[in-house]
């Protein structure tokens, strides 16, 4: 399938092949999904997120993102403890479609080692990953 979209990918964060983004600020990593993923899913109707205090590991499940069209798993790129979830998404899951990189963030994780993120893609790499 040919992809048609405007690709604006913030360069301040890392990306996974499963389309999550990870923004590091000190020892806290914020997780969301890319605008490309949100557009692909179409209108998001439900986001299931972990409880604060949950221990997550790299590659483990963080929750589920559901749209009119499909349900997809949200994976963690890092190991750590969930310290905050975006409560606004409970009533307004469409925030993910409207602002995937900002207001549509999903989880904040306190990490033990930010080094795990180094294996993930840069914005440029993610762009070409999606284009191919």
């Amino acid at each position: 399938m040919e992809t048609r979209f405007t690709m604006e990918v913030p360069t301040d964060r890392k990306y996974a092949e499963t389309h999550e983004w990870f923004l590091t600020e000190g020892t806290v990593v914020t997780v969301g999904i890319s605008q490309f993923a949100a557009d692909e899913l179409t209108d998001i109707t439900f986001v299931e997120l972990p409880e604060v205090g949950t221990e997550v590991s790299q590659g483990g499940s963080l929750g589920e993102v559901e749209s009119v069209k499909a349900t997809s798993e949200l994976y963690s790129g890092v190991t750590g403890e969930v310290i905050e979830v975006n409560e606004a998404l409970t009533d307004h899951p469409e925030l993910v479609n409207d602002s995937a990189f900002e207001d549509g963030w999903m989880v904040k994780i306190k990490v033990t080692s930010a080094q795990e993120l180094e294996s993930l893609m840069s914005a440029e790499e993610y762009k070409s990953f999606v284009a191919n």
């Binding site: 399938m1 048609r4 179409t42 559901e66 009119v68």
Partner: protein, 367 residues
């Protein structure tokens, strides 16, 4: 017809130019959405949306034996079919398994069949298998014509403007065919959204003329008529509890078991009638029901349905109803659990969500 490349409808370039998100659907590149599924859904319920349904099969049958052949192939009684009317029915195998659901229309000198894109080759083959010794000729007009579904409360008024015919006089499941020189334009008052509306079939060569009338121009789009994609078509038809082949209908079960006995005439003979009469005597193993789930999660096809911890059925289609703001699903459940108000559970992800049986359809337009 086996093709490696995906087919394009005559409106493909228009979809791309309108920002349609294109997906592979039954061998065709079709728009799944334009402005967004929810927005298009609401627009259809409130105003007028145009869906490209040119991928659906359009077959023309001519010859003196059309009536008897179609009556034998279809679950609906077509012996008294009137010119100018369209009939929804199923084409089944001997064992009752549904090969496709179709709309059959009787024209003055021929018959028309609209079938699902995914079943077109199968249906063409099936008809050809049964025409031996019959005076019937089949012509596939799918790729030489265009079909658009215009749906929503403002449709008749808007479309009447450029067909210069008062379409409000056209009754439901009736059509009007107009010959313009060598071209035939047919307007059917059918639909698959639960709204009022029409389907327009015209030759591919007239599409260029139709597009600006329907949609306006890129610089000045039509203020009310908007394009909609397959995504909204699905959420709309689920709210209206209309069956979709591959979900509620399948070769694996007959029309009665699918809960569509209203379009089956067991008093006549048709292929599959014996099996269905037997089925009817034995009693149906399950019923189709509407479910309303607690919360916003969507129950997808094949999600298991439970009553008091035991499996009693399976979801066929589900969505978060944009109109009702509720999670709704159609499901096949054992008859004992099909009464309105029955409390059931549906497996969604790792959870079992409470659901109650509600009447179908979920949505009915105000008359």
């Amino acid at each position: 017809m086996a093709t490696d490349t995906l087919l394009h409808t005559p409106l493909y370039d228009t979809h791309v130019q309108q920002g349609g998100k294109i997906v592979d659907f039954a061998g065709w590149e079709m728009p799944v959405q334009f402005a967004g599924i929810l927005e298009e859904h609401h627009h259809t319920r409130n105003a007028c949306s145009v869906f490209d349904v040119s991928h659906m099969g359009r077959l023309i049958l001519t010859g003196t034996d059309c009536e008897s052949l179609l009556d034998r192939l279809c679950t609906r009684n077509l012996q008294d079919a009137e010119v100018g009317r369209s009939y929804y029915g199923h084409i089944c195998r001997e064992d009752g398994g549904v090969l496709d659901d179709v709309i059959i229309s009787r024209f003055e000198k021929h018959w028309g069949i609209v079938c699902n894109a995914s079943n077109r080759e199968k249906i063409v083959h099936w008809i050809n298998q049964h025409t031996e010794g019959c005076n019937v000729k089949l012509r596939d007009e799918t790729t030489t014509t265009c079909m658009v579904a215009c749906q929503g409360p403002k449709t008749l008024e808007l479309v009447s403007e450029f067909t210069s015919e008062d379409l409000t006089k056209l009754k439901r499941y009736r059509f009007r065919a107009r010959q313009m020189g060598p071209f035939r334009i047919t307007v059917y008052r059918c639909g698959y959204t639960g709204e009022d509306g029409v389907e327009v079939v015209l030759p591919t060569s007239l599409v260029g003329m139709m597009v600006p009338k329907l949609f306006g121009t890129p610089k000045k789009p039509h203020p009310i008529i908007k394009p909609a994609g397959l995504g909204a078509r699905d959420t709309l038809r689920i709210e209206a509890a209309m069956p979709l082949y591959g979900h509620e209908l399948s070769e694996d079960w007959d029309s009665l078991t699918a809960g569509q006995s209203w379009c089956v005439d067991l008093t006549k003979d048709f292929i599959g009638a014996d099996a269905m009469r037997k089925r009817s005597e034995q009693g149906l193993p399950r019923k189709i029901v509407g479910l309303e789930l607690e919360g916003r999660r969507i129950a997808r096809q094949h999600a298991e349905v439970f009553a008091g911890g035991s499996p009693v059925g399976e979801v066929t289609s589900g969505t978060l109803s944009p109109t009702l703001g509720k999670s709704i699903a159609m499901a096949f459940v054992a008859g004992a659990h099909a009464t309105e108000g029955t409390e059931l559970e549906v497996a969604v992800g790792s959870k079992r969500l409470p659901a109650s049986v509600v009447p179908l359809p979920f949505y009915k337009r105000a008359k």
